[in-house]
Symmetry: C2
Subunit: 321 residues, 2 copies
C-alpha cells in the first residue's frame, strides 16, 4: 500500500496532509525529514445530506491508520485541501460542485475532529504553491500555475505571493473563451474548460466522431495519426489555450506560466504548438516562458503539507517563551 | 491661464507634477495645502531624433514658469508620468509608440534637468492610484481602474497595492478580444481597443457608414437615434467590453472595476448595458461592482503629484537626524 518514502520537502515539522479530490482523497504522514509516509489514495466519501461532515469525518480514520503504521512520528499540524471555491483566510469551503457544500466552516470542523491545528486550502493553489517553492515555478516572482485535467484551474503568484481574492481568483478554466460556445457545467457559456480541458477534448471528439475514448491522450494520438476530427478538436483546444495565455500576458504579464495536470503529460505535443501560437498572438507584450510542471500528481499533497508546516512553524513561534 | 486652485490632495509636501501625454503635457505646482497651482496644458514636444531629451528638456521651462508665478512655494520633489511601457522601479521609459523611445533612463535625465528627486511613473497607473487613494476605487483592496479613451489601458491594484510586473501588466486594451478581428497598431490582431475604445468606435462607424464623426459621443447619439450602423458598432463595443470584464472577474476577481476616460462620460448609456451584459456572462464568479471614475481628466496629474509627495516623504525620513 505504501509508496516508497521520498523526501522532497526537507527537514521540518511532522504533519499530516490530506488532499481531498472529487473522486479520491490522497493522504500521507510527513516526518521530520520531509519523507511522505503511507501515501495513499482512498475514495472520497460524498454525502449530499452532509457533505462537509462526511469528508471531515473520514479524516480521523485515515489519520489513525497512518499514525498506527508510524508510531514514532508525532504530527503537530494538519494540512487539508479541497477543490471548489475556498477562502483560506476564514477557513471556509465557499462552494464545491462535486460535494455540494456552501460556506462550510471546514477548518473548524477538521480541527475539532483531529485535535490539531489545520491549514485549510485550495487544491490547485496548494499545487501551485508547491511548484513555486519546490518545482517548476521556483525561480519566478510573477507566475501562473495552470492545472489542465478534467477541468482547468489556476494558481496566481504575484510578487512572490499567492493571490486568491477570497478564493475567487484564478478561475482561468471559467474565463470566457468562446461567446458562441457550449454551455459549461458552471452555468456560464463558452468557458475555456469547455474547449481545452482534457475532459472537453475527449468529450468533443466523441460527440463529433461517435467514437468513445478513455481520455484526451487517445484524441492526440488519433490527431497525430491523421484523423481529421481529432485534429480539429485538438486544434480548437490549442487555439483556445493560446488565446487564454495571450490574455494572461496582456493583463498580468507573468514571467512564466507553468502547466500541469493530465494534459501537460503530452509534453512537446502540447508545449511546442502552444508556444508557437502564443508567440503569434503577442506583440510588445512580455512573453511568458511556458514550462511543464515538475511535481506531477502529488503537487497538491506536497503544497498541503507545506501549508501544514508553515502553520506548525507559526504555532511554534507563538508558543515559544 | 490658471484654473481655480483646488485642494483634493490635502496637506503635505510642495511638489511639481508633470503628466506627459502623446499630445499635451499637464503641469502644476502643488503647495503644502494640496492646492493645484497654475494647472495648464501645453503641447508635448515630440522629436523622433531625441524623444526622451526633448520631453525632459521641456520640463525646466514649465517648472520655471510655475515657480515664478508662485514664489512662496518651494517644491521638494517632482512627479513625472508618461504613457507606454514604464518601469517605475528602474525609472525607465521602456517603450512608447507616441514618442519612440526605448529603454530611456527618463528618471535620471529628469533629476539632472530639474535638480530635484523625481518620482517617475505611468500615466494610467498614476490615475489608478489617484482613484484608489482619493476617488472611486477608494474602498476596495482588489480593484482594476480602466481608462477607455483613444486607447484602453488599466491599472491593477491587488491587496491594496499596485501590480505592474515591470511595466507590462494592465494592458487590457491589448488583450485579445477577437482572434478574427482587425490588426491593432501594436502589431497584434483583434486587441480589445480595436473594437471598444472611444477611438475605435468612431473609426469603425466612419468605416461602415462613410460618415465622419468627431468621436464616440456622436456614434452613441446616432445609435440612440435609431441609426442601425451606429447601433451595431456600439453593440460590438459593449459585447467586447463585457467579455473582457467577465474574463477579469474569472482571473482576478476584483471587488470593483472603475472605468474612466472619455467613454466613461457616457454614464448610464455605458454602465447600464455593460452591467447587464457582464451579469449574463458570469455564474459562480464574484461579480465586480462597475463604478464610474470620480477624478475625471486630472486623475493622472493627481496620481503623479501623490507619487512625488510619497517620494518627498521618504527622502524627508532618510534625511531626518
Amino acid at each position: 500500500m505504501d509508496a516508497p518514502a521520498v523526501s522532497v520537502l526537507g527537514p521540518g515539522a511532522a504533519v499530516l496532509a490530506f488532499d481531498v479530490g472529487g473522486t479520491d482523497t490522497k493522504s500521507a504522514l510527513i516526518d521530520g525529514d520531509g519523507r511522505l509516509l503511507g501515501l495513499r489514495r482512498t475514495p472520497t466519501p460524498i454525502d449530499a445530506a452532509d457533505p462537509a461532515g462526511s469528508v471531515v469525518g473520514s479524516l480521523p480514520v485515515l489519520a489513525a491508520a497512518l499514525l498506527a503504521e508510524h508510531p514514532g512520528v508525532e504530527p503537530s499540524a494538519v494540512g487539508l485541501s479541497v477543490p471548489g471555491l475556498v477562502d483560506e483566510e476564514t477557513g471556509t469551503g465557499v462552494f464545491a460542485s462535486n460535494f455540494g457544500w456552501r460556506d462550510a466552516p471546514i477548518r473548524a470542523l477538521a480541527e475539532t475532529a483531529l485535535g490539531l491545528p489545520v491549514a485549510f486550502g485550495h487544491d490547485v493553489r496548494a499545487a501551485g504553491d508547491a511548484e513555486h517553492r519546490l518545482g517548476a515555478a521556483r525561480e519566478f516572482g510573477d507566475v501562473i500555475v495552470l492545472a489542465i485535467g478534467t477541468g482547468i484551474a489556476g494558481a496566481i503568484i504575484l510578487d512572490g505571493h499567492p493571490y486568491s481574492s477570497g478564493g475567487y481568483a484564478g478561475e482561468i478554466g471559467h474565463a470566457l473563451a468562446d461567446p458562441h460556445g457550449d454551455p459549461c457545467t458552471c452555468g456560464a457559456v463558452g468557458c475555456l474548460e469547455t474547449i481545452a480541458s482534457a475532459g472537453a477534448i475527449a468529450r468533443r471528439y466523441t460527440a463529433a466522431s461517435g467514437i468513445e475514448v478513455r481520455g484526451a491522450r487517445e484524441v492526440l494520438a488519433a490527431a497525430a495519426g491523421g484523423d481529421p476530427v481529432a485534429a480539429s478538436v485538438w486544434n480548437d483546444a490549442l487555439d483556445a489555450l493560446a488565446d487564454a495565455l495571450a490574455r494572461l500576458a496582456a493583463i498580468l504579464a507573468p514571467e512564466a506560466i507553468v502547466i500541469g495536470g493530465g494534459l501537460s503529460q503530452a509534453g512537446d505535443a502540447l508545449f511546442a504548438p502552444l508556444r508557437e501560437r502564443l508567440d503569434a498572438r503577442l506583440s510588445f507584450h512580455r512573453r511568458p516562458r511556458l514550462v511543464q510542471a515538475r511535481l506531477g500528481d502529488d503537487a497538491g499533497l506536497l503544497g498541503t503539507a507545506l501549508a501544514a508546516r508553515d502553520l506548525a512553524g507559526r504555532r511554534g513561534q507563538e508558543d515559544a517563551p
